[in-house]
Amino acid sequence: MKIIAAIFIVCLPTLVLAQAESLPPAVQALIPQAEAEGELQVFGATLNPRQVRAFSQSFNDYYDMDIDLTMSGGLHSAKASEVALAHRAGVPTGIDVFWTGLIAAMAKTGALMEIDWINTYGADPSLAMGPWGLRTHDGHQSMVTVNTGRITAAEAPKTYFDLLDPKWRGRIVMPRSPYPWMAMSYALGEQETVDLLQTIIAKQEPKLLARYADIRARVLSGEFPVAIGTDIFSLQKRGAPVVHPDIDLLVLSSSGAFVLEDAAHPAAAKLWALWAVSPEGQATLEEARSYSLAETPGTALNTYAEGRRVVHVPFDWRLENHDRLSEKFLTILESGS
């Protein structure tokens, strides 16, 4: 065993070097520039310090660099609006990569750097998010969760319309947010989704909560056996008694890495986005937050997606329909509060 470990340690630098050499020349050219920049600021997911260290380790190992990576999270819509304001005023935002799905304000004000990820850096064409971003993971906030301590797999809903069964009256917790329903309306059809939500609100007396973390807590504690609008892959890893039931449809909305126009460390920022979609990056995202692209083999999302009808809500469609659908579904939700 010790011999194998020794061989591995000796070979590791060679493996890293070989990996770096296998990168497209344009990507390789970014590495010395990034090293000269020396640091990188990513705003996006909330991570604990141990996870940030894991991100930093994997990112630096991937390119054989030593860059100081800082990552922070917060309220994306407010931050995006602030970044747009700062950019318009010519004030440095201090952020290099905005890791999000919410870019409307920044795109409008030209705060995002346009990058040809496909032709310049060899990224997969399916990963492009407009002329700016690179899709790093697929969100699944429309999913249903059930508490296995309260209901069996046989009792769990098999379609979204099973949620209308009277047996779920008073047993569903869901967000006051229109987000899950907006995504679902792309997959199910707008009128069908409106009817579905109206019936749930009118007949099932769901508990509506403002924050996603509270919804997770309520289904985890067993107070409500069914939740809509939250993912629990990372909790399942810790043995929590919750699962996503065997529902026929999986609706996904993507998030990605967007380099800011005023990024002080643009080369490092581009490398981070490219790392995030690499197998190593995807493994790190999966380990930290159970984030992944649906097509990345072996991840929780990929495993769940197998054999199901998977619908990706197009990025442009989201931008185009947000205001209208948001108001529509929020009105229905408010009628039930």
Binding site: T70, G74, A78, L85, L102, P178, L209, A210, D214
Partner: protein
């Protein structure tokens, strides 16, 4: 060239403090007219949307009910607690002070979560024990009601309200009570007819201030989620757009409605200030009131205190400890004991060092800023003869009605606007300025009440004796205000350490704070580590509060800081 009067420093401090308040208020008002979150286009569209919402009257009534209900509960506990701490020989003063401070450090969502576990209708432990669980609201207890929301919010606001009232109680002139005692007036009648009327400005300040705070609090509304909307929910939803821009217009117009709701009470308070001399009880002829002996009532007082402690500190701390011991949130049960481990405590400890240092820095900076501005404003409001002073005070009073996210945005916009001259944007300094501004109203409420009780004749005597107004300010006014300054600083420090919204929106990534760490861990589903960090934070803050109390001489029940 004549020397500049140093009192201009006081006026300047007041002016800067007021300017920061105006940034926050103007941010709210200007935001209410913006249509694109970028302050490019201005319309009245948000007001039209808000005011034509058919649900608005009911929302307003619920919001008013929430505000009045919460302050009724708060005053029921805070007034007796302040009296016990400041004016009686109550034996558990240090314990009560410690627990009040501890409560300030407990995150609101934990208190709410504890009550949901106990009293939710479908699986609440108390309902389960009574065999009365029900999914459709027929249980013995149903925590999802507005009356529970009032009770819980009211209970958690007690420490701040008590700390606000203590300085006013400490400054009461004992000769009035002594005269009543000599005349054979019973203690209860003395309290009702002498102490309470003299405390009127202080009680009024607490009631108005906490009305504003109660209608703007979000933690409990988010978790209890009673039937029907309240204004703060409208604001939250407007600012947390799922896929687009925050709706500053709707949030701002709802914030302006909160101003309107608060305005009546504030106007009433301003009238009080105009009759300030009626409430001045601390004069040159003042007598130390001594301590009221509780005697046979000590047991009843202790029971009253322990009831609050159990409801507000005991249950949430037990909840925090339990959450810190299990890998994911689950109600206590025999089966869950198999999962108990110390991992959360060890994991939380490994993250704590840097955020704790940064938080200490923010606490210190916020206290210094808030205290400096508040002392200056209090002096200007209660001592200057300017006719606009009461209105300046009313403006400060409105600051807590501005939603925290809007305040954060207003300060960010200001930071961006002045960046080329003063590069504060993205630094902890801007966070401290925003925090200090939000807490300024609390400080000025506490200090104004105490300052109103200090008769101007004390300062007039100092001037007649040849002291300059500046030296009178330093040598007479400030020492007399010491108890108020201490309790205001304590409250500001505690709230600064716990505040999440401002750092979350304004924080630069290189300077993590403890509150943001707790949020990150909780959002990540690492509830055990989050709860452990919260417990560490409580211990640190309580230790700091006790040390500060000892060092500043505020630990003793007497009135050693007054002449």
């Amino acid at each position: 060239m004549s020397r500049l009067n140093p009192l201009w420093l006081v006026y300047s401090g007041a002016l800067i403090g007021l300017s920061f308040v105006l940034v926050s208020l103007a941010g709210n008002v200007v935001g209410s007219f913006t249509s694109d979150a970028q302050f490019n286009d201005f319309t009245t569209d948000a007001y039209v949307r808000l005011l034509t919402d058919p649900g608005l009257p009911a929302t307003l009534m619920r919001t008013l009910g929430l505000g009045f209900g919460s302050i009724a509960v708060t005053l029921t506990f805070a007034l007796p607690f302040a009296w016990l701490l400041a004016r009686t020989d109550f034996r558990w003063k240090t314990g009560l002070f410690t627990l009040l401070a501890a409560k300030l450090a407990i995150p609101g969502f934990i208190t709410a979560m504890a009550y949901v576990w106990l009293f939710n209708p479908s699986a609440g432990l108390v309902n389960a024990m009574l065999g009365q669980t029900n999914y459709t609201g027929e249980a013995a207890f149903d925590v999802y009601q507005i009356k529970w929301l009032c009770m819980l919010q009211g209970l958690v606001l007690v420490p701040g309200a008590a700390f606000m009232l203590i300085p006013a109680l400490r400054n009461l002139d004992g000769s009035l009570e002594e005269a009543a005692r000599t005349a054979g007036v019973p203690a209860w009648k003395t309290f009702r007819h002498i102490v309470l009327p003299l405390l009127a400005p202080g009680v009024m300040a607490v009631a108005v201030f906490y009305f504003v705070v109660a209608v703007e609090m979000f933690d409990f509304v988010a978790i209890i989620a009673p039937p029907g909307d309240v204004l703060v929910l409208t604001i939250y939803e407007a600012l947390n757009a799922v896929d687009g821009l925050p709706d500053y217009g709707l949030a701002g117009s709802a914030g302006v409605l909160l101003f309107v709701l608060s305005a009546g009470a504030i106007l009433f308070y301003v009238r009080f200030l105009r009759q300030a001399k009626k409430y001045a009880v601390l004069s040159g002829k003042r007598r130390d009131p001594g301590l009221v002996r509780l005697g046979k009532w000590h047991g009843a007082a202790s029971a009253f205190v322990w009831l609050w402690v159990f409801l507000t500190v005991g249950l949430p701390v037990i909840t925090l400890v339990w959450v810190a011991l299990v890998p994911f949130i689950q109600p206590p049960s025999v089966g869950a004991l198999d999962n108990v481990s110390l991992f959360g405590f060890l994991d939380g400890l490994s993250y704590l060092r840097e955020p704790l240092i940064n938080t200490g820095f923010v606490m210190a900076g916020t206290i210094i800023m808030a205290m400096t501005f508040a002392i200056c404003l209090t002096w200007v409001v209660t001592r200057s003869r300017s006719k606009i002073a009461p209105w300046a005070d009313a403006l400060v009073f409105l600051a807590p009605a501005v939603p925290a996210i809007v305040t954060a945005t207003a300060f960010q916009v200001m930071g961006i606007a002045v960046y080329q001259w003063l590069p504060l944007y993205g630094t902890l300094w801007l966070i401290m300025a925003a925090m200090g501004t939000r807490m300024l109203a609390y400080c000025t409420r506490t200090m104004n009440s105490a300052a109103l009780q200090i008769h101007p004749e004390l300062e007039e005597a100092a001037w007649v004796s040849g002291l300059s107004r500046w030296r009178t300010f330093r040598g007479v006014f400030l020492p007399l205000m010491a108890p108020a300054i201490f309790y205001a600083a304590l409250m500001v420090g505690m709230l600064a350490a716990r505040d999440l919204t401002l750092p979350l929106i304004m924080n630069s990534a290189g300077t993590p704070l403890v509150s943001v760490l707790i949020f990150d861990l909780q959002t990540n589903g690492e509830t055990a580590s989050a709860a452990a960090v919260a417990l560490y934070m409580i211990v640190v803050l309580v230790a700091l509060a006790l040390t500060a109390r000892k060092l500043t001489g505020m630990a003793e029940p007497g009135l050693e800081r007054t002449p």
